[in-house]
Symmetry: C2
Subunit: 317 residues, 2 copies
Amino acid sequence: MQSKLRLIAAAALCGTALAATAATAQEIKIGVSIPAATHGWTGGVNWHAEQAMARLEAANPNIDIILMAADGPAQQANDLEDLVSIHQIDALVVLPFESEPLTDPVRMVKQSGAFITVVDRGLAQEGIEDVYVAGNNTALGAVSGEYFRERLGEGDNIVVLRGIPTVIDDERFNAFMETIEGSGITVLDNQYANWNRDDGFEVMQDFLSRFPDIDGVWAQDDDIALGVIEAVRQANREDEMFIVGGAGMKEIIQMVMEGSELVPVDVLYPPAMIATAMDITVNHFTSNGPVSGEYILGAPLITPDNAETYYFPDSTF
Amino acid sequence: MQSKLRLIAAAALCGTALAATAATAQEIKIGVSIPAATHGWTGGVNWHAEQAMARLEAANPNIDIILMAADGPAQQANDLEDLVSIHQIDALVVLPFESEPLTDPVRMVKQSGAFITVVDRGLAQEGIEDVYVAGNNTALGAVSGEYFRERLGEGDNIVVLRGIPTVIDDERFNAFMETIEGSGITVLDNQYANWNRDDGFEVMQDFLSRFPDIDGVWAQDDDIALGVIEAVRQANREDEMFIVGGAGMKEIIQMVMEGSELVPVDVLYPPAMIATAMDITVNHFTSNGPVSGEYILGAPLITPDNAETYYFPDSTF
């Protein structure tokens, strides 16, 4: 009965509302400013932003999304100026290239009256944005550590590859180390691999040459993990250990889906968070629910059971 | 050009897709379990849940929302069982009556495979829900405190009415007291008024009889504030002080909108958060963006400038 009513309503809408939609609904302009696809993860950000734009514009005829990808902080600051002066946006979704140089430009957009959603990298000053959407680096470390505790114990050895020396890396690493404390697992060494495939390969080659017995590798990042996988395969030691990355890169998710023993799981730090941020920003204009606040996404363990949910084969990442 | 394309796409959809929508789209059932409208704030929760249900079902023909309001924890536990066994829901949005007695029933829903969104009152055990949506009591206290600092200073006197002795009340009160520290404002007294209009009236009558000079009242809650307003008016002292509540009750918002000097602002702790939680749960099935995580809504200051955004004249609250 309920769905029948809905069909009748939809049919009525189709008969009369096409012209009205374009003519009467107030147009809302949302600017989305993100870094260009300079590496794997931002490639994913770009792809998911485009997907979300197409979906949200199709579902909301009065919403116009202007997506701009910047090659650096200076260009992103210019993009923000254009979004205000040329496009006169009602809201901004921004994943800042860097915190410091984008803080004043975003404040300028705020002062124009636009609703502000900041994604992933916070600004250098609190209180400018209306919503903050981000991943959870502490949870990423803890969820990874819990998986190692389940798989390994007393007498087992692991190596750890870190990112770039930053707060993000410290949060991940410290949470991981705290979580495996008391498990009996020995961390043979940890080295920075700069969230980079080539560095992951080199660091792992060094670990392989120094340590004859490795049961697990925490690579904490899927780009690093790709380099680690290559080094382990070249050394013909893929039956000896498992590797855990982090992010949700499609090549890694595919291995998890296929039941790989070398890469049995992944931990989510999703570039698709840009889509979450865009959804919420649209909701600010369409929902009776409030959206201002802080939305910290979880870092769920991706296993063969749930991998499909996180697999986007058409994405670059 | 873009909107023209959209019109063409919409026209094409109208020609062919009406039957297909009903026939092919997989039906998704979302259960929403909330307390019945036993007092003002939960009245608002019920109203906003109904609004969100109508909006989300209209926008998503394949989504069926089953809304159940419970008179107590036992009935809510029964509702949850029915949502699983009779309705076979794919997702649950639940605002638990109380944390302890609902923890096992919600876990049971989770074990059925449903996606779980918990709102406002957390469960007694972590890790059961996929998303947690809640207000921010610390921010509510701090934002209120900042307003008092702006309005008052050295030599000014205020009184504070508290809620029910709970963690929530402590968070609000402590944040308020920390924020006004060093402002020179004197807190003449603070007393519990149990988030209740009658108690607010009685406590304020007592304050009025004991203190001849009161510049401001922090009532922290709009139900309490209604009682305070009545007591102040009966004492003919409404020109002497201002009153700040909290929540976003329509009567209070209306006073703010009209530029009342007695109730110049309010601080948001929105019953409409149930709608935010329903939006996100629908996004879990429709968006490419992830939704699992923790979404803590802000406690913005409601002023004459922005009051309209938070004013729902048809709501009971």
